[in-house]
Amino acid sequence: MEMLTAYLAFPFVRYALIVGVLIALCSSLLGVTLVLKRFSFIGDGLSHVAFGAMAIAGVLNLTDDMLFVLPFTVLSAILLLRTGRHTRIKGDAAIAMISVGALAIGYLLLSLFSASTNLSGDVCTTLFGSTSILTLTIGEVRLCIILSAAVILLFFLFYNKIFAVTFDEEFASAVGTRAEAYNLLIAVIIAVIIVLAMNLVGSLLISALIIFPAMSAMRVFQSFRSVTICSAVLSVSCSLIGILASILASTPVGSTIVVADIAAFLIFSLIARFKGGVRS
């Protein structure tokens, strides 16, 4: 406990906690929708795109990665959702292709052009976000707060529409809701969250942040609202526990958070089995 208070005196620990909580909150809100719409893997695909974009930004020697990575990922999200229907390449195959492609090209570019002496270390950091959360600047924290606030506000305002479009797109369009526009909104929000979350858990583990809290909540709760709230609470708690545990035990932040999420999922599965009657 003393150790913890000592650590909390450092601004970088406080930054990490603020960013961690916000990202966990945002990703879990959208996670429920993504899991239910069978878009779980879009998070995975987009995070690899973001990795590729970061590699390109690195090669181009851009001073601010974010300015390039964010629009690039948003654009890919829009393209991915567009290809989802009415095309020859089906949604899941398109995601797999873009995901693997971006990962390969990103690594290729880094190994061809990177001036760094510790290439595998750099790649590992981007993929697993090992230490970047502890080296956040005040500017990055501000950006994160602004974007998270925007995500939460949008989710709150469009909660009923997001529910309607998730449950039944056909019906929603038939009664005049612009389902396409809301799908686009969801894609853009998820891209923003992924770019933000790269700092926290790295691009490989982002899917965990999106999927685990939603899946856990869906095991136990019966209404969309309670699933969303539980998923948010769960995600924030797991992130807090994960970050603090990783600082105390000097483990990688991202992996520790994901392990906390897995543990929560197992506990919730047990509760569901204990209560009985709830199908997975």
Binding site: F163, A164, F171, S173, M218, S223, F224, V227
Partner: protein, 240 residues
């Protein structure tokens, strides 16, 4: 009073025509059953009438100002819905989304409408139950209540009884008949030709040879072609 007119309608996807040269008009208060083989374009016709896709050519005219968002629609269930964590109340209320427009939350009037819709389809007792724990017939009645929140005068149903047991099927047909008696115009896709002849006023047979007309005309035309309907008109009435 005319409600809906389809003129020289050609339907399909990306230059592949499914149904062509469709001409019919429907009076308010009618009960139209759309029958036909799988792949004959029944659902495509319904999606086009709803404005979810545009016709290849021809036009659909709604008379006396019926607007798209005033149509009730009961689509076929998707696999996503079967294990969806949402309560009956949340789902029925989402039927009001067209009325709410861009307003982020539902107002008292819309909540009242959702309650009334649940009463009409008899799902009020299920209000707080989770959708995925309901039986097929109950789920269908919940979706019917949701569509009622949107419907003012027209109701479109895409195979409302598929996958239901005989009891649930009969209940569903009775609910739809009740709606029709209350003045709602019904357009329903059905594979159940017996029920179509029993409940509908008009039949649209989609396929290479399109038929549109009253139920009596339909039976007559089928008899003329030597394809007798499964039951004659009198027998159908007796059974109902």
């Amino acid at each position: 009073m005319k409600l809906l007119t389809c003129r020289n309608l050609c339907l399909g996807y990306e230059h592949v025509s499914v149904l062509s040269d469709l001409n019919f008009s429907l009076d308010a208060g009618s009960y139209l059953c759309i029958v036909g083989e799988n792949g004959s374009g029944k659902t495509t016709l319904m999606r086009t009438i709803l404005g979810l896709q545009s016709p290849l050519s021809g036009e659909i005219i709604w008379e006396n100002g019926t607007r798209r968002m005033e149509i009730g629609y009961l689509p076929q269930q998707t696999s996503i819905q079967r294990d969806f964590p949402a309560t009956v109340w949340e789902i029925v209320l989402s039927g009001c989304q067209g009325r709410a427009g861009l307003r982020p939350f539902y107002n008292r009037e819309e909540k009242e409408l959702a309650r009334a819709s649940m009463d009409r389809t008899g799902v009020t007792v299920l209000k707080d139950r989770c959708y995925r724990t309901l039986s097929g017939g109950q789920q269908q009645r919940v979706l019917l209540a949701r569509a009622l929140c949107a419907a003012r005068s027209v109701f479109l149903l895409d195979e409302p009884v598929s996958g239901l047991d005989p009891n649930a099927t009969r209940e569903m047909y009775q609910l739809i008949e009740k709606l029709n008696q209350d003045g709602m115009t019904i357009l329903m896709i059905s594979h159940d030709i017996g029920a179509a002849l029993r409940y509908a006023t008009h039949i649209l047979h989609a396929g290479s040879k399109v038929f549109f007309g009253t139920v009596d005309d339909y039976i007559a035309s089928r008899e003329k072609e030597g394809i007798l309907p499964p039951l004659t008109r009198a027998e159908i009435r007796k059974e109902a």
